[in-house]
Amino acid sequence: MQEIKNIWTAGLEGIRLEWLKYHKNNLARIVFGVFTVGFSFLILYGKKIIPQASPPLPGLDTYYTFPTIWDYQGHIGNWMVCVLLGFVMVHFFTGEVSAKTLRQGIINGQTRKDFFIAKLAVIIAIASFATLIYVLSTLIIGIIHTSDIYPELLFDTNGIIFRFWLMCVGYLSLAFLISNIFRSSGIAIIFYFGYVFVLEFVLRMTQYYFFRSRSMLFWPENVIEDLVPNPFFKLPSFWMEKEWGFSPLLTSGESLLFGLIYTPAIIYLAWVIFKKRDI
């Protein structure tokens, strides 16, 4: 119990310290600005495109009304968190390595554990901020577009709010782990995007080529991604299920369970690496 209290105290202190470090950082300001504005309003740009789309794509109402708006807005958030916030997380860690402020922080009296907990607190804070933007933007846009609103409909989410938050923590932890491994900002960013968009997909397809089984869906990035899955995949999944013999999407329960296993595992691995290496 005392240990949990200590971690909580260190986390709060870490957040205050990280705020001092980054509240005047222009790159962070730009990225969070783009994220907030882009994530809040990008879905509205669909009004220009969607009317031109033909079936089987769903009609305009599906994207902006409850309960389906949670899926579509969540999917936009999935991309934006992965790209923008993943990038900023890499920057937050590798920037400290390259400027040697991590080293100076330790010299000044921070323990490695304090530093690590501070970065974890940042991950949780960013994930919570992104989730807040997700919830607020979805509620506002959904309420404006849905004609017949009642509370059950409003929050008919199948736990997507928590899954969105876990997805954010998952992506940010992955970015943090990769930053810890490579430490150089350029290499870490290339590897992060390379892994998320290319490498794991290639590995999964290679696995599928040799062993056709659903186990190919349980790779970490895919689990994180499927916490808030691409709603458009629900259409082709019907045909893909016939071809593959299984759906290309994890169920929300599966992604949640494995998300809850992978995320702490990624964080623990980052801690083991961080603890062992010279600074």
Binding site: L17, R103, I106, I107
Partner: protein, 295 residues
């Protein structure tokens, strides 16, 4: 005892960066860690400051009274000044202050001490190297720590910058704090430090008070209009040895009881008019070269 190091070692592959270093630093000591490039000075300080993991051995700060929080009671810089480039002096010092758990009203006195008051609101990235180094020294003073550790504090600075930093360091050393300073500039160490530890290839060659490290050898630098006659005269004196021709004068070791007046008088009595005469003790630089050459 402020610091006690016991058999501390660190290797990078086959290279032994620090080899079983044992050393003690008492309160109020101003210790210069001397050594050529690659002698293990920075690695030693890195281990003592918690950023490099020792291979073996141990060290204890403040006899263990602060536990794992001991670094909060040390003001230290390692190699380059490390700050957030987009933040100004106040913001950067506020971060240091937060880490050390020191409440601060203002950094006026500290910034004034290092001459940065007028630039306190400029981002760190706009500072010259000398200003960066001075801000690093200011950061080490936060919380009025008992111990100050500096690693090559005048590295890369121009002569004016070196003089400024040296003046600040001298005043800190004179204030009674324990100062540990790594340097390969022997003159700097000789001027500032009370004690030295000499490292080479990770091994401790010698340590102790500066006066103890320097032996009692006395050197005379002499010149005369007739240098050949002077050389013959010097060669014939029993209290003179190791005569070396330098740029326009002879340098030789002389017996400790001989004074400049004695040399001048004896030369004059033997018909030699000296145009230059200087008597000095051995310099740290000469001792250092001698020690590192022997090893």
């Amino acid at each position: 005892m402020i610091l006690s190091i016991n058999e501390l070692s660190k290797s990078y592959g086959q290279l032994k960066a620090v080899d079983r270093l044992t050393l003690e630093v008492e309160k109020g000591t101003v210790l210069g860690i001397l050594g050529p490039n690659g002698s293990g000075k920075t690695t030693t300080l890195g281990m003592l400051l918690g950023v490099i993991k020792p291979l073996s051995g141990s060290f204890t700060w403040f006899e263990g009274q602060y536990g794992t929080a001991h670094r909060k009671y040390i003001g230290a810089t390692l190699e380059t000044p490390n700050f957030y480039s987009y933040l100004d002096a106040d913001d950067n010092l506020a971060i240091v202050s937060r880490i050390k758990g020191v409440s601060h009203e203002s950094f006026d006195a500290i910034l004034d001490q290092v001459g940065l008051l007028s630039r306190r609101k400029s981002p760190f990235k706009t500072y010259s190297l000398g200003m960066k180094q001075r801000l690093a020294i200011a950061a080490t003073l936060i919380g009025n720590p008992e111990v100050l550790v500096y690693d090559e504090p005048t590295n890369g600075l121009d002569p004016q910058g070196i003089a400024e930093i040296r003046t600040i360091l001298k005043s800190l050393a004179d204030s009674g704090k324990t100062v540990i300073m790594a340097s390969h500039i022997l003159d700097e160490v000789e001027k500032i430090c009370s004690h030295v530890a000499i490292l080479k290839r990770g091994k401790l060659l010698a340590s102790g008070p500066v006066g103890f490290i320097l032996n009692n050898d006395q050197f005379a630098e002499v010149a005369a209009p007739d240098m050949e006659k002077l050389y013959q005269w010097l060669s014939g004196k029993s209290y003179v040895s190791d005569i070396k021709s330098q740029n326009g004068f002879f340098e030789s070791k002389v017996a400790p009881e001989i004074t400049a007046v004695d040399i001048n008088k004896m030369a004059f009595e033997d018909g030699i008019i000296l145009s230059y005469l200087k008597l000095r003790t051995r310099k740290l630089e000469e001792e250092f070269i001698e020690l590192t050459k022997e090893s």
